[in-house]
C-alpha cells in the first residue's frame, strides 16, 4: 500500500536521487540521463552491482575523473571526463544504441518537462520558436530501456503540474514512462492511472486534488 509521510518535508534533489537509487534492481544495467539523473550514481551501493551504460559507447562507467585521471578520450554522454571500472567495455555508437533500442538496458533515468498519465514523455524541446532543437539520445533512451524512470519536480515554477493528462510540449516518446519520481511523491503509471507509491509532505487525497489525472493509492496485495 501507499506509504504516506504527510508531515515530512518534500525531498530535496539529493534525497530524491537516493530514492531513485533504491528503486533500481540488483544487477541492473542502467543509463542515467544528463543533469539531475546523474546524481543517482552517488547513491548506488556496491551490493546493488549496477553497471552504468553511457550512450557514447561504454558499459562499466565509473565516477567522474579528477586530477590525473582526466583523459579527454574517456567521457560520458554529458561530455564530462569519467573513469572506467574493472570489467568495463567499449563499443561504437551503432552498437551502443542497438543495445538500448533492443531492450537490453534494464532502467534509464531521465529528466522531463512533462509526463502524461499514459506515459508519454516530453523532455527534449520547449517548442519555443527561437529555441535551437537538440535531441541527442533522448528519443532513443525513451523507447529503449525496459523501465523508464523520470525524475522531475511535480510542479513548474508557476505551480502548474508537470504530470498531466496530455503533454503540451513536443513529445520525446509515446507511452514509455513507467515510474515518476518527484519531491512530493513517487508514481507508477499503469492503465491510464497514476498509482502513488510513497509521499512526502502530502497525501494521496491531496495529490488527487492537485493533479488533473486519475490518482489512486497503491492497494495491499492479497
Amino acid at each position: 500500500m501507499t506509504i504516506e509521510h504527510p508531515d515530512a518535508a518534500p525531498l530535496d534533489r539529493t534525497a530524491l536521487a537516493a530514492v531513485v537509487a533504491r528503486s533500481i534492481p540488483t544487477g541492473a544495467y542502467v543509463n542515467l540521463g544528463i543533469g539531475q539523473p546523474t546524481l543517482v550514481a552517488d547513491h548506488l551501493t556496491p551490493d546493488q552491482r549496477v553497471t552504468l551504460h553511457t550512450e557514447n559507447g561504454m558499459l562499466g562507467m565509473g565516477r567522474a575523473a579528477v586530477g590525473d585521471e582526466i583523459d579527454s578520450d574517456l567521457i560520458n554522454a554529458g561530455k564530462i571526463p569519467v573513469t572506467e571500472l574493472p570489467g568495463a567495455a567499449y563499443f561504437h555508437h551503432a552498437d551502443s544504441f542497438a543495445m538500448m533500442r533492443g531492450g537490453h538496458l534494464d532502467v534509464c533515468v531521465l529528466g522531463a518537462f512533462q509526463v502524461s498519465v499514459g506515459g508519454d514523455l516530453a523532455n527534449w524541446h520547449t517548442g519555443e520558436p527561437d529555441a535551437i532543437p537538440a535531441v541527442g539520445g533522448a528519443m532513443d533512451l525513451a523507447i529503449g530501456a525496459k523501465q523508464v524512470f523520470v525524475m522531475m519536480n511535480l510542479l513548474t515554477r508557476d505551480g502548474a503540474p508537470k504530470l498531466v493528462p496530455t503533454c503540451s510540449y513536443p513529445l520525446t516518446g509515446l507511452g514509455c514512462v513507467t515510474r515518476v519520481f518527484t519531491e512530493q511523491a513517487v508514481f507508477d503509471l499503469r492503465g491510464g492511472e497514476a498509482v502513488v507509491l510513497e509521499t512526502w509532505g502530502t497525501t494521496v487525497d491531496a495529490l488527487r486534488e492537485l493533479l488533473d489525472i486519475p490518482v489512486r493509492a497503491k492497494e495491499v496485495r492479497a
Binding site: 553511457t54 550512450e55 557514447n56 559507447g57 561504454m58 583523459d71 579527454s72 578520450d73 574517456l74 567521457i75 560520458n76 561530455k79 572506467e84 567499449y90 563499443f91 561504437h92 555508437h93 551503432a94 551502443s96 544504441f97 542497438a98 538500448m100 533500442r101 524541446h125 527561437d130 535551437i132 532543437p133 537538440a134 535531441v135 541527442g136 539520445g137 533522448a138 528519443m139 532513443d140 523507447i143 529503449g144 513536443p170 513529445l171 520525446t172 516518446g173 509515446l174
Partner: protein, 224 residues
C-alpha cells in the same frame, strides 16, 4: 597502392565543393582535428557535414563552420554550452540544420555501410522528428521509416593503424568512427601511430582495412 599518406593536406586534397563529409567524434573525443584543419586550408565549400554535434569552441568543426564552408549540418545535438559559432549561424539563417536522434544517426550510417535501403525504428515515432516520414505499427509499436546517410568522404580519428588500414581506437573516442568508416565512398583516418602489417592483434581490430582508404599519422595534441 599504399594507404599511408604523408600529411593531412595530401589526405584531403580531392574533397570537392558540395561534398557530404562524415566527421567522427562526440564533442571533442575522437574529433579528427588535423584532418578538419587541413580541409579548412584546402578550401572546399558548400559542404554537408554529419557529426553528432555542431562544433565546440573555435577549433575543429567550429572553425569549419565559422569559415562559412558548411551549408548544411546533420547532427543530434547542436546546442551546447560552447556551440556559439553554430548558434550564431543558425539564428542568422546561414546554415541548414537536420536534427536526428542520436541512435537513428548511428543506425542510418550503419545502414549506408551495410547496403540497407531503409529501416523502421521506434525511435522518434509519433514525434516532431517523424513528420513527413512514413510511420507504421509493427508488433503493437509505432515505428518510423528512416533512410541511410551516405557520405562522399569520412574523416575520422583512431589510435593506431597498420599499413593495411586496420584500425584500433581508444576508449570513448571510438564513438562514430567505425560506422562512419563504412558509410563513405572514401574514408580518411588520422591516427597517433602507424605500425607494420602484423603488429596489431587481429582479434582486437575494430575497423578492418577494407573500409579505410587513406591513413595519416599525426601527433597533434587535442587542442580542447
Amino acid at each position: 597502392m599504399s594507404r599511408i599518406v604523408a600529411n593531412p593536406d595530401e589526405a584531403v586534397a580531392d574533397i570537392v565543393d558540395g561534398a557530404t563529409v562524415l566527421i567522427g567524434g562526440f564533442g571533442t573525443a575522437g574529433m579528427p582535428y588535423a584532418l578538419i584543419e587541413a580541409l579548412l586550408r584546402q578550401g572546399a565549400t558548400d559542404l554537408t557535414v554529419v557529426n553528432n554535434n555542431a562544433g565546440n569552441g573555435d577549433t575543429g568543426l567550429a572553425a569549419l563552420l565559422a569559415a562559412g564552408r558548411v551549408r548544411r549540418i546533420v547532427c543530434s545535438f547542436p546546442r551546447q554550452t560552447d556551440s556559439y559559432v553554430f548558434d550564431e549561424l543558425y539564428r542568422s539563417g546561414r546554415i541548414e540544420l537536420e536534427v536526428v536522434p542520436q541512435g537513428n544517426l548511428a543506425e542510418r550510417l550503419r545502414a549506408a555501410g551495410a547496403g540497407i535501403g531503409a529501416f523502421f525504428t521506434p525511435t522518434g515515432a509519433g514525434t516532431l522528428l517523424a513528420e513527413g516520414k512514413e510511420q507504421r505499427e509493427f508488433d503493437g509499436r509505432l515505428q518510423v521509416l528512416e533512410r541511410p546517410i551516405h557520405g562522399d568522404v569520412a574523416l575520422i580519428a583512431a589510435r593506431t593503424a597498420d599499413e593495411a588500414g586496420n584500425l584500433v581506437y581508444r576508449k570513448t573516442a571510438r564513438n562514430f568512427g567505425p560506422v562512419m568508416a563504412t558509410a563513405a565512398r572514401r574514408t580518411i583516418v588520422q591516427v597517433d601511430a602507424v605500425v607494420p602489417v602484423g603488429a596489431l592483434d587481429p582479434e582486437a581490430i575494430v575497423t578492418p582495412g577494407i573500409y579505410v582508404d587513406r591513413v595519416v599519422a599525426t601527433h597533434d595534441e587535442d587542442p580542447a
